[in-house]
Amino acid sequence: MIVPMTRLQIVGHKRDLDATLRALQELACVQLVDAPNIHATLRPYASGAEHAEMETLSYLQARLDALLALLPAQPVESEQPFADVLPASPEQTLATRLQADLDAHAAALETLAQQRQALRNDADVLPNYAATLTKLSRLTPALTELSDYETVALLINRRYAAVVDLLAEEMRAIAGERSLLVSDQVDADNIGALLVFPRAVAAPMQALLGRAQVSQVSLPDSLRNVPFRDALDHIQQRLKSIPDELAVIDARLAEAARQHRSRWLAARQALVRRLEQLRVRNHLGETEHTFVLVGWTPQRDLPKTLAYLDQHLPDSALVAQELPPASAEIHAAPVLMESRALTRPYEFFLRLFSLPQYGSFDPTTLMALFMPLFFGIMLGDVGYSLVLLAISLYGLRRFPVGTGLHDIFRFLLMGSVWGVIWGFVFGEFLGSLGHDWFGMQAWWRERSDPEALAPLLLFTIGLGAVHVTLGLALGVWQAWRARQSQHLWERGGMLVGLIGLFLLAAVATRRLPAGWMTPSLAVVIVGLVLLIRGLGPIGALMAPVELLGVVGNVLSYLRLAAIGLASVYLAMVGNTMAGRVGSLWVGVLIAALFHALNIALGAFSPTIHALRLHYVEFFSKFYEPGGEPFAPYGAGHS
């Protein structure tokens, strides 16, 4: 059901604005609209000081979020408001108190976070250095520690082994006999090389290495002053000490979280609420001394809202009253849907498509009737339906009310119940197993029987005819109610033309006497004329196409039979294959795999097709999408 809405207008002195906005935020049942658009004489509310406050609070919120992200998540101990958690002198505003609070603790926390990040970086990076240095370790005993010398380690792919000799030659040319190069194969792919040369020739040596394009093994910054031969020991010691250091930092952060987190979460909530109060001012209109606020509210909440304002702002000079919308404005109302438990899941499917416009027809009740019915016809197997029923019951317990998955499982539950009923109608239990093992008989026809194909197809076309005709009848009613003459002609023409075509089909299949032919043709022609009238200048060209489109829509319901047949034949293939393998256990395994696949397909495919039949075939006849969801001011924090 679409909840009836009305408009509320509040006019008051500017000194009462803050209190009014706080009260409406508490109520969370009014969606504000731009007041200057309603009253052309009003000017938009100019927020001067508030704008500066908004910038400060936004900055503080970003800072607070950054600090909260540093703290480990812990259960919030109390949900006290920020003001109660951090007593302050009356002259301090929320911003100044929070600013002081953050200034007092931010630096220490940021330092801790940086230290933790550095430790984590080391824990990630140092093992790589250790692995490389281990490879080079067999070369380092050849080194002696010399204070004026620099050591560079290289890893060179074996394919470029010749580079080592060239480097040795070039290095001797630069540094003479005061240089040393030792190299050896360090693993299957690489040759390690250590170059020792005087610091005085470091620059030309680096240039040489750059020209040779060899990869140097550089030590991390923390080991920059450690001699190369000692680096591996240092790294291993460092890796050993990291977990203890991390534990100390984590304990300090946990302690900080215990001290500050609940207070800062409360502060954040206060910030967000205040920011919302400031941002909503963009919708207001003003005169020199007054503000004007207009918003949509559910009709049933209007008395409650007026009483609340009276009670909480007794000394204010507010004029709060209903501002009934004109008929042209009512379509701009936001849409609040409220369904009973049975129809609630279909609100979810409707939201997936688009909410209906305010004042238009809400199809959730019809969806609750037809969607599970279509699902059941397609699934049509007692065994599969019972499995889906069990899964749906589990899903309903697992996911809380209000979540999309809960709605989907509720739909599956209803669909499965229909699936059990249609399973008996078609005499199916895990395909033909019910018939073969338990002598199960179809109440109507077995879908696997070739003789059943024609009646099954006719039945689904008949169901499509009913559904599409219902959609068109709703469309006609809606167009008539909304005084939309063009839609009325168009949908009326389609409805009449379709009825004429049904009559023609009945005559052609001798269900009606031949004398009905002329009247049936006349009905089709009347329908086409109405359609041409509704479609305008191109009507003569488009009317037959449109009518054929409606026939296509009806034929589209053949999918109810087609999807069901695919499912029943897949089940039969599984049963037949399982019966022919010769081994009981292999047979059971094959049958289980086929039936599991069929159940997965049986949950997914009929849902999508039942949805599609509604979205495309049914809704296109009457549905008016594009409703704006009701988003009351304050709802996010109530």
């Binding site: 194909l453 034929l555 589209s556 053949l558 087609a562 999508i608 979205y615």
Partner: protein, 77 residues
């Protein structure tokens, strides 16, 4: 008429329309997933768009059923 030819005809009616549907759904689906990455709220519309070409294969199925039921019955199949 030879029942084998009827079966081939029915198979072609479903097969060719299924190819057409698959091709169209592939193109629409890939574009739809791209759009949904930007705007997840478009999911319902995209399901609708992806589902539209299915009418082709359903009509193919209807033609195949007519071939088998109307002509196949006469051939003694």
């Amino acid at each position: 008429m030879d029942i084998g030819l009827l079966a081939v005809g029915a198979g072609l009616a479903v097969g060719i329309t299924a190819l057409g549907t698959g091709y169209a759904q592939g193109r629409i689906g890939s574009a739809g997933v791209g759009a949904m990455a930007e705007k997840p709220e478009l999911m319902g519309r995209i399901i609708l768009l992806v589902a539209i070409p299915e009418t082709m294969v359903i009509l193919g199925f209807a033609v195949a059923a007519m071939i088998l039921l109307l002509l196949g019955g006469g051939a003694g199949g």
